[in-house]
Symmetry: C2
Subunit: 196 residues, 2 copies
DNA sequence: CCTACCGATCGGTAGG
DNA sequence: CCTACCGATCGGTAGG
């Protein structure tokens, strides 16, 4: 009995989080109101607070769910036995698939994380910097091994991560090409741009 | 006499627009308050309304100033006599320089245009679609002439425009590399990624 | 999960 | 350019 109750609460919260993501995409975090969210969820505003602490909690749940996935992935890839260029390609494919599959939370996390409240803001910011540093280190390594053209590694990271966030517009359009085609196109351009 | 008065009003408005851009970057359009803007400008909130109609006007002045620059540039480039790849390189260099030189308004325009009110919203959205279509047409042309790898042209446009918007993070960091170096790095990766 | 409500803050106006 | 103020809306709580 207690278990069913817990399970219900969890899925209810997940439902609210999902609706919150769409709303934050549509309006932006600040412009989205809890009353607006309540309407989408189908309850009165006050009732939301039985499932979440406050509006900020919605945002940090979304942002950290995305950040955790990134961290796990790069840790795994760093340990793999393959060329730097292959590592980058794997990372890029992961980012693309992540964007396609978890579009709403990735989009919200990318665009709205600056509205996070402390201590989440600092924590997220640090994780972000750390992730980019590790990504840049892989590129740096590839340059030293002459797999990759000489270039500024951190600029390359910026370009590639932002390029992928452009999938947003693809996702919102009526998806003229498939996710797989999209992935191949991006890899051709970005990995092609790095290769010596 | 009347002329001096007009001139003063214009520069006062420009001053307010500049401060508004920084504020919109820092907080986002919705979260930025007119009282906050007034404080930065150094007047009471009510006084702002002697120079602007309302908060929305600030945003659409910023967005259309950027959009107009883009439109003028692509019109000029379309008429030039050079290869498609050269046209794309010119366009990319223009985008990069634009981002470096007019960082604040470009950033606000990119991130906040969805908060535009009608009819500005539809107008801006159409201009944006039109611009991307023309950019894609140049790529398409390069593919037909075998200057450029086979790829989905509109995906390539998405990637490249978003890649450049990544300069944001470069601009906000302590500018480890110069603007010129940044530009060359981006061109190497993006144009290198297109070239056959 | 709801009704009823709070203090705070918002964009904007009147009038000088 | 300011003081004084407006109605609307916000996030969140009390109490059931």
């Amino acid at each position: 009995m207690g278990r069913i109750h817990t399970k219900d609460n969890t899925s209810r919260k997940d439902f609210i989080l999902k609706k919150a993501s769409s709303l934050f995409i549509e309006k932006g975090f600040k412009a989205a109101s809890m009353r607006g969210l309540a309407e989408i969820v189908g309850v009165e505003a006050a009732s939301l607070y039985n499932h979440i602490k406050n509006k900020n909690e919605l945002l940090h749940e979304i942002c950290f769910s995305v950040a955790n996935r990134y961290n796990e992935k790069i840790e795994k890839i760093e340990l793999e036995q393959c060329s730097s260029l292959e590592k980058i390609e794997k990372l890029l494919r992961f980012h693309i698939q992540n964007m396609v599959q978890h579009f709403e939370e990735v989009y919200v996390s990318d665009r709205e994380w600056k509205h996070l409240s402390e201590p989440y803001l600092s924590n997220f910011h640090n994780q972000r910097k750390n992730y980019r540093k590790r990504f840049a280190a892989i590129i740096e390594n590839g340059i030293q091994k002459k797999e990759i053209k000489k270039m500024d590694a951190s600029t390359a990271v910026l370009i590639m991560l932002h390029a992928i966030s452009g999938i947003e517009s693809w996702h919102r359009s009526k998806q003229k090409i498939s996710g797989k085609e999209l992935e191949e196109n991006i890899i051709v351009i970005l990995v092609g741009g790095l290769k010596k």
